[in-house]
Assembly symmetry: C2
């Protein structure tokens, strides 16, 4: 590859001048500048980013650490990040941790060796204390989707509110026996959705029934098994709130295979709004998470942290999940009764 010296020779100036003409930050006479640009074009000169980075101490690169690229919540967020990064002239390095904390640490080391300017994370586990260390060293870090304590900047979705609103909607629709199929309680986002579920029940005066709540499910097959387990306990929920779309989809599959109908016999509410959820039979009612926006906001926040010398105090940005009503939730038995009663109340 051609270097700055060759460009300088071609243009009849010194390397310093080439550098200045290209940077735009220093005054260079118009004629010299034109000569330089001409030479650059002729030789198709591409400044070596390593040398530049070594000198300047920054690389216009951000590291992105994701627990699992095959988890469908991440591709949209990745897109949001790369779009914003591109707009600001940043390159993104993607690392996959397989939900493993040691792999995560290894990636962080590797990225720091490469002098990335900042890091966007979805933590593998809540035990990622090495992230707090980074933060303390003044290294720009933004968490996304999954967050830690409130000491590190983060862009997340309001999971308590999401869980609350989903459950409240089911209750308003007249469902009274609402099963909850949750992910691992090791992740704050699932704890929050659970708390929201309970809060909505309490508000409506519905007793919490632990026989229709299952934690720790992971993929659609777990969701499939979980609802079967609940059914085997001789529980007959009139609705199921699953804490992720894949779990909801597994639930629907199991319900159908039992010869029951969705939503007539059991309504199903998901959480995510993955691309496929609209396509399902029946189309899934769900809490839509704004993953693309989460990615965008995380990247914008990180770039702000990188550019600004004195570190502002951590900001936790919570975006709202949005209820998306489709076919998998209809009206429960309490709906008609309430409608009937409405006339009297007024």
């Amino acid at each position: 590859m051609v270097n700055i010296k060759e460009v300088a020779e071609r243009a009849g100036v010194s390397p310093s001048t080439v550098s200045r003409a290209l940077s735009g930050r220093v005054v260079v006479s118009p004629e010299t500048k034109e000569k330089v640009l001409q030479a650059v074009r002729e030789l198709n000169y591409q400044p070596n980013v390593l040398a530049k980075g070594l000198k300047e101490g920054r690389t216009k690169t951000i590291g992105l650490i994701i627990p699992n690229v095959r988890n469908l919540v991440f591709p949209a967020a990745i897109k949001g990040i790369t779009d914003v990064a591109k707009k600001h002239g940043y390159t993104v390095i993607l690392c996959n941790t397989d939900e493993d904390i040691e792999t995560e640490k290894a990636h962080v080391e590797n990225l720091r060796k490469r002098l990335v300017d900042g890091l966007i994370f979805s933590t593998a586990t809540a035990a990622s204390t090495h992230i707090l260390e980074l933060k303390e060293q003044g290294f720009p870090v933004v968490l996304m989707i999954r967050h830690l304590e409130n000491k590190v900047d983060a862009v997340i979705v309001d999971n308590f509110k999401g869980g609350y609103e989903a459950t409240k909607f089911l209750i308003e629709r007249g469902y009274r026996h609402i099963a909850f199929i949750n992910g691992t309680l090791g992740l704050d986002l699932y704890r929050q959705r659970f708390a929201g579920y309970k809060a909505a029940l309490a508000e409506a005066g519905i007793a919490y029934n632990e026989d229709i709540v299952i934690h720790g499910t992971h993929d659609w097959e777990d969701g499939y098994r979980a609802i079967l387990t609940i059914l085997e306990r001789d529980q007959q929920p009139d609705a199921v709130f699953a804490a992720s779309d894949p779990k909801a989809l597994g639930v629907i599959k199991a319900i159908k295979e039992k010869g029951l109908r969705v939503p007539e016999d059991i309504a199903v509410m998901g959480y995510d709004n993955l691309d496929m959820s609209e396509l399902m039979d029946p189309p899934l009612t769900t809490m839509a998470q704004p993953f693309y926006e989460v990615g965008q906001r995380a990247a914008e926040r990180l770039i702000k942290l990188i550019d600004c010398k004195r570190k502002p105090r951590p900001l936790i940005e919570k975006l709202p999940a949005q209820l998306l009503v489709r076919v998998s939730v209809s009206y429960g038995s309490a709906w008609a009764e309430r409608e009937k009663g409405k006339g009297n109340n007024k």
Copy 2:
């Protein structure tokens, strides 16, 4: 961050010695080596990869250029690549082109400025001649999933065979009026699947009927509309072969909404085997593409190209797609007849 000089001081040796002790490629006395490693541990020294890369002219980094991270075929391939890269000590830089050729070119420039050691591509379009240029300059490039002419190393799936076997299976199952819903003919992979479809028809002596073939569909909504269009043409296919799973899923949705049953009235065959396809109602019969393996093989090939000075001639590796029989395809009208006739033929 701590540098090599500080380590040298701590260990009481020269920077050269630190470098040598760490590289392992040169003889260093055991005692010196121990002193150095001790200092490295105490200071938590991480060699600066930029400086190292600048000096050595390589960075142990590979660039990965993907047309669209939200397209579900890619996450699995990305995983295959990052797994292999990690095993060999390489880092992966992910770039997203949005199917846009100019963005693709910009990414290539950017990555070369960063001295990546090689590139893995899924080309945005067949017109990516800049990739051929890279190849001619002796720069290591491997294409994946989508390939160009046979001048560049590539790991792809055998699309002709895949299209042929899918269609042949439908014919063997007794279907005779098989619609084909294809992607864009601008991509070789769709041309090949189409050719396979026609070859299987011809072999079985079934006339090609262009009224039940639609090209250029992209996502599930296009698939949904395409089958509706065919139905409006007063065509009644007994089976639909869709050239991707999302298209097949859209087809199923449309068929159901028309009050027809899958597979009893119309059978549906997909192509991909995305994670969700098994979950559908009915579970989708499809040609499974080994995306994870494609990613692995592409990364292995690229690393081989990087390590080997004299360039071997381009190798196009074709992995087989595999028929996965699930519920969305059953038995067509010609099946029973043939079964009946079998006794006589023997």
